[in-house]
Symmetry: C2
Subunit: 352 residues, 2 copies
């Protein structure tokens, strides 16, 4: 709300200010002091500050960002790279990160790999040339060009989140073993033990979740049953739908309870079951229980609403940003590269 006035008075009879030199003259303060002001308004005397701010009101000058960044070793830019921005999960995370950055006086710039390695590399190259103060990366995972990512992280202070490739100064993500165990435990207590529905893994999370499922099932004395459907890319719903149609037709699902590797896959499977006329849920008369993972923004709106495990978005983003800011301030984490995992919560809805 601060500066969201138009610029009514600013275009008056006064000439246009283009450079800091001109602005300094107009405000009656020397250029080096003005420069100091823009670097940190608190670093100049109050009377000076008010003169400059009075001039700012009058002429809407802002320093040339390219000239600034040419001379400063570290810019105020923070790069954010996610694998797939069309996935609201990442869109939501990005929104949170952006807000934190702005609050801290940085300039977030967002890139998406759109699920493709070449796009990811492009984004890294563009980002690198912007010489950002730091970067928050959620790599594609299996699809990443790890050398390129590593090379980037050597030049730019980097925190990796969501998908744990062994790069950067720290990792922040979800504790898949905890969250999956929570869900498996619940499903086993409340009905038939689940099978695990997945597609070929795109990142380490997918692998960890399968392992966690197997481990939990064994701990509870059940035989783990993993069903992998074909598919690649990031159109998870479509893959879930097609795989689900096939499995249901063939009656090839090894259990009436299905734990999906993530919510988007579950959305596809639910659509398949629906089209096949199967009733989903834990109510009497239902043929199938379906559960997901992530508490995706859409999962509240499936029919029936999806039972899932939440990822702690807020903690993940806040912690990532926090660590990055420490890094930028020069506070390297001591010891090994830290890996911070947040627990998930069970979100019980009607689907399982």
């Amino acid at each position: 709300m601060d500066g969201s006035h138009g610029n009514e008075g600013k275009l008056g009879a006064t000439r246009k200010i283009r450079t800091m030199e001109e602005f300094a003259e107009a405000s009656g303060i020397s250029r080096p002091t003005v420069s100091k002001y823009f670097h940190d308004p608190a670093s100049v005397r109050a009377t000076t500050r008010s003169k400059i701010e009075a001039a700012l009101e009058k002429y809407d000058y802002q320093p040339n960002i390219f000239a600034i960044n040419q001379n400063r070793k570290l810019t105020k830019t923070i790069g954010i790279l996610v694998p797939f921005l069309a996935d609201p999960f990442f869109a939501e995370i990005v929104r949170n990160i952006e807000q934190s950055c702005i609050k801290a006086g940085f300039w977030p710039i967002v890139f998406s790999a759109h699920g493709s390695q070449s796009a990811e590399n492009n984004a890294l190259a563009t980002l690198r040339s912007l010489r950002p103060a730091g970067a928050l990366l959620a790599p594609l995972g299996r699809g990443s060009d790890l050398d390129a990512v590593r090379h980037f992280a050597e030049e730019v202070p980097t925190v990796v989140f969501d998908s744990n490739v062994n790069v950067g100064e720290a990792f922040v993500g979800s504790n898949n073993f905890q969250s999956v165990d929570l869900m498996v435990d619940y499903l086993c207590r409340s009905g038939e033990p689940p099978c695990f529905f997945e597609m070929p893994p795109v990142n380490p999370n997918a692998n960890k979740r399968r392992e966690a499922y197997i481990q939990s099932m064994e701990r509870l004395g059940h035989e783990p049953k993993v069903v992998q459907v074909a598919g690649s890319g990031w159109e998870f719903e479509q893959i879930g739908l097609e795989g689900g149609m096939h499995l249901i037709s063939e009656r090839a699902l090894p259990s009436d309870t299905v734990l999906c590797s993530n919510d988007r896959l579950a959305v596809g499977l639910i659509a398949a079951a629906c089209q096949k006329g199967l009733r989903i849920g834990h109510a009497p008369g239902c043929a199938l229980r379906i559960a997901g993972h992530d508490d995706h923004p859409w999962s509240r709106f499936t029919c029936p609403p999806l039972t899932t495990v939440s990822q702690d978005y807020t903690s993940i983003t806040e912690r990532s940003v926090e660590i990055l800011f420490d890094l930028i301030r020069g506070e390297k984490p001591k010891g090994d590269r830290p890996e911070i995992l947040f627990d998930g919560k069970l979100i019980l809805r009607a689907s399982a």
Copy 2:
């Protein structure tokens, strides 16, 4: 695939190249010529080009973007601003635009207003200071600070898309009157004439669609019935769900056929009907027909799949980018600010 090798040989015993001066020396070509090369590789002799490219292989140098842009009047940056990136509709459009820009040798940079005016203004300010060659804006609409948007468009060649506020050099979007008419016509032919389900309009599209609905209904000799549910913000599904629950409980829907102002609202309404135990679709025994608008990426996965009208994503993005590139080349459209509208197509699925 071009440059997506790692950089195996580049970190050999050779020293690190930091400036174009150093790089020129290392490649055996003078700096002005190297500069020419980076501006346009085709502008130097083939033998020179190959020398430079050989050096590029050896030392992975890239020019300092800030120094470049300080001197060039127009940068190679193109700004993209959308109202809500967590909406896959915009995410999809952004992906297309980005690709076109990269293909044309520009650097797309994406911003999202996250549904908020202050964020939109922030993004415009950041973008402006980047001195982009041009910008593609999808404004918030009703929530926009029009003065700020206009001020931006006066400094930067701007094409507006999706939401037609009267700013910029051109507008590209959907022909809501055509698409809504298509749907109303279909719904009337195939069953009970629809009522129109909307929330308080966030942008001109929403208004146009209501008007188009009313017009089409009158043309067909039916009484238009508009149902507006309360809600604000960009969480359309939630608004649709809550509004739908209420309307169904109160039996306040004026028709068994509901045309929603957009697919996201329809997703919410479907969820509501589902939770209330109402069967949706045109099959016998169904209580409610629900149709949407946009052919949103999710609409294939609702239960039942959503009947809707597609927006011509591809044409909209291609045309927007095309016009912007013309603008950047200095080819102003003659005559009035052009408004280009693309027709939608009927997408028949099971929900209506």
